[in-house]
């Protein structure tokens, strides 16, 4: 399941909703990305409505093909966020923990390089668009099967 929204999310509530009644689940892994406040006073996330949902669904589908997941969820926020605010939630659940851990890391790495989001940071010196990070690309590439 994927959601793109401006509103905040409650990870506990989302995990409860996602896993309720699914007794094959033996482990749940969650990742929550936050706005880091190192010199940044606010961050505005812009996205490409329509394509974002499509890309997130494609990435989620890949994770489900590659690992045995009983449930998965990606929530990504957009709009203006302050330091400490939650940006993204990735939840993966499987019968054994290994698949949930691996799939979760895969999803986070890939959404950094595939999902059409752009971050505008506000600092004391003014605004700047965050540039794509080479280490994020490397992190995503390690999941490419050779």
């Amino acid at each position: 399941m994927i959601r793109v929204q401006s509103e905040d999310f409650d990870a506990g509530f989302e995990i409860e909703q996602l896993t309720r009644g699914k007794t094959a689940i033996g482990g749940v892994v969650s990742f929550i990305g936050l706005v880091r406040g190192d010199g940044v006073t606010a961050m505005t996330l812009e996205h490409y409505p329509g394509m974002t949902e499509q890309e997130l669904a494609a990435i989620e589908s890949q994770a489900n093909q590659r690992w045995n997941l009983e449930a998965s969820l990606i929530i990504h926020r957009y709009g203006k966020l302050l330091p400490g605010a939650r940006i993204v939630l990735v939840v993966t659940a499987s019968s054994h923990r290994a698949d949930a851990f691996a799939a979760n890391e895969f999803l986070v790495d890939w959404l950094k390089t595939k999902a059409p989001f752009w971050k505008l940071e506000e600092t004391a010196q003014g605004e700047r668009w965050v540039e794509a990070n080479a280490s994020d690309n490397d992190a995503a590439k390690r999941w490419v099967k050779s």
């Binding site: 812009e46 394509m51 993204v88 059409p116 989001f117 752009w118 505008l120 540039e131």
Partner: protein, 83 residues
């Protein structure tokens, strides 16, 4: 066709989207960018280095040699920074 610009491209070009007729002789995304560059200083500046840009046709990431046709939705943007 519909053109969409995101992040700093939108700022440099001065708009987020526009509708244009597919220019004569433009067959792919790369040629479209070359044509857009001739439309003014904002376009020229924003689109000067294609390596710093990515393109999606009908909401799918594609290469610069991807064919474009009337009615397509074409988005041009910097590399993404989600997560």
């Amino acid at each position: 066709m519909k053109l969409l610009y995101f992040a700093w491209l939108k700022t440099k070009i001065g708009k987020a989207e526009e509708t244009i007729d597919l220019p004569a002789g433009v067959a792919n995304a790369g040629a479209l960018v070359d044509w857009l560059k001739t439309r003014g200083p904002g376009f020229a500046e924003a689109l000067k280095d294609r390596r710093a840009l990515r393109v999606a046709v009908n909401r799918r990431s594609v290469g610069w040699d991807f064919a474009v046709k009337p009615g397509d939705e074409i988005a041009i943007f910097p590399p993404v920074t989600g997560g």
